[in-house]
Amino acid sequence: MTFRSLLRSPYTGFIFFAVLLLLIPLAVTNEYYLNVLIIIGINSIIVMGLDLLMGYTGQISLGHAAFYGIGAYISGVLSAKWGVPPLMGLLLALVGVSIIAFTVGNPTLRLHGHYLAMATLGFGIIVFIFFQELDFLTGGPSGLVGIEAMTLFGITFDSDRSYYYLVSIVMLIILLLSINLVNSRVGRALRAIHGSEIAANVLGVKISRYKNGIFVISALYAAVAGWLYAHYITFISPSSFGFMFSIKLVTMVVIGSLGSLWGAIFGAALLTSLPEFLTVVEDYETVAFGIILMSVMIFMPRGLLRGIEDLVIKIFARISDRSEVQEKINE
């Protein structure tokens, strides 16, 4: 393998990122920062899944907070009410969410554009109402207490540091699976559907199979994130899984850069941490947040990651132009 191909391999970036993630706790010891990093990790799992659906396949979902919530509530309720261990809870959450996602996705993914957006939006709202109204299970609007802390294979993850490592490892596994997926026959089929459904179809791609498949996978990612969240905070309430959070997830995908897993992580990190940084401007927090989002979209319409890429390329081009001119002058 040559140096060049090593540099271009999608796995090189993964290895650097993995090392970085596992080294961060050596530098960051502040519990509060670790807490923010954990939430970033959890959010980026959902956003990666949503990016596979939106950025790669071109199908919008305004209801992904629902899958996040269902994952959290299945494992959370089982743990709080019947003491079911988290690993078992995760398994049941994954089974439950995949059944729900398939049942919802099968009819709705036949819709396109705004209609699909409306259908998934409706789904998200229905699920939110269920969280609120099934109070004998979910505790209703006031929330569900008594979820046990994460215990896996006899190890209890009760400190922020240990939980950080758990979330990082889960996230890295999901990132690796996603990198594999997008660089495969399936990933190409998904992007082909995005490019031209009709052309993909006459090349033998069964559209419904791939749309449903990626919808279920992205729902499963959200469920894993919900599971991590429920056993981290050990208290969940419907307000964390509402419509506003669905919108926030979509914003993370778009701001990061559609159709790029790194963009998804970048977007999740930025939008999760930005409100924390913006507390310095106190009352104007929301205004500042809005202005930042608007400026990103105006100046970098392809998202931050691609925007920065373009900027770097432009700067390099200018530098090399200038040195060429300089050479000519010297001659």
């Binding site: 594999n180 026959r185 052309a199 179809n201 006459v202 090349l203």
Partner: protein, 253 residues
């Protein structure tokens, strides 16, 4: 020998307009067959119905002896026939090579699970897909541009790419919908050479085209359509001198 593709009394109505009117057409294996006709004759509708993109109103299409009317496009493609589009339908954000690799979709098997975990056979399959796709690009002369983004290619090259992508499905019958539209003289001549080379690979070609020089140069057999009906049929020389054809193109005297 039975023809590879047969349409029997194929009819397609769009509201009150009859785009295909009891059309009987046969495409013999191994030939380059063209369908010509004035604008609105129903040529593109014919392609759309055969490839399953739109349903027929009545009549049947047989491919290799089996009835394919009513099947979804991917099933029809799986039986060994694919098409290109008059207005290009490339995957513009993907590279040239990736476009052709999508064409290999039916000739590979990786699913969601096996691809996510990159099982050993997936790695081998990926290599096979890539190598074979590069061969197709070499055949059409696009191998130097394999890493470029498809949407950045000049128009003529995009047409050729769409052809390469269709070839990658390894079809028995390849349907080309106006492949010369928008090409200049030189590009059209190259295309004629390419079509002949493809034909030598035992691929039957059904060509819808406006460019008469191209049609007359490459075709073994020409069918002429007008207002959804077949009005003449024969080798290029016969068609050139056919009364009904001249009338359809030039109007009544």
């Amino acid at each position: 020998m039975e023809p590879l593709l047969i349409t029997e009394k194929l009819t397609k109505d769009f509201g009150g307009v009859r785009a295909l009117d009891n059309l009987d057409l046969e495409v013999r294996e191994g030939l380059i067959q063209s369908v010509i006709g004035p604008n609105g004759a129903g040529k593109t509708t014919l392609f759309n119905v055969i490839s399953g993109v739109i349903p027929a109103t009545s009549g049947v299409v047989r491919f290799n002896g089996e009835i394919i009317t009513g099947l979804p496009p991917h099933r029809i493609s799986n039986m060994g026939t694919t098409r290109t589009f008059q207005n290009l339908q490339l995957f513009c954000d993907m590279t040239v090579l990736e476009n052709v690799m999508v064409g290999m979709h039916m000739r590979s098997a990786g699913g969601f699970f096996s691809s996510s975990f990159r099982l050993p056979w997936i790695v081998a399959e990926e290599r096979r897909i890539r190598d074979r796709s590069i061969e197709w690009l070499q055949l059409v002369g696009l191998e130097m541009e394999s890493e470029k983004i498809a949407g950045s290619l000049p128009f003529g090259r995009q047409r050729i790419l769409e052809l390469a992508r269709a070839l990658a499905t390894d079809p028995r019958l390849l349907m080309l919908d106006e492949p010369a539209a928008g090409l200049n003289l030189k590009e059209t001549q190259d295309l004629a050479g390419l079509i002949k080379r493809i034909s030598k690979l035992d691929i039957t070609i059904l060509l819808v085209e406006h460019d008469m020089d191209l049609v007359m140069e490459v075709s073994d057999h020409v069918s002429v359509m007008d207002q959804g009906r077949k009005i003449a049929e024969g080798d290029p020389e016969t068609i050139r001198n056919d009364e009904a054809v001249l009338k359809a193109y030039l109007g009544e005297e």
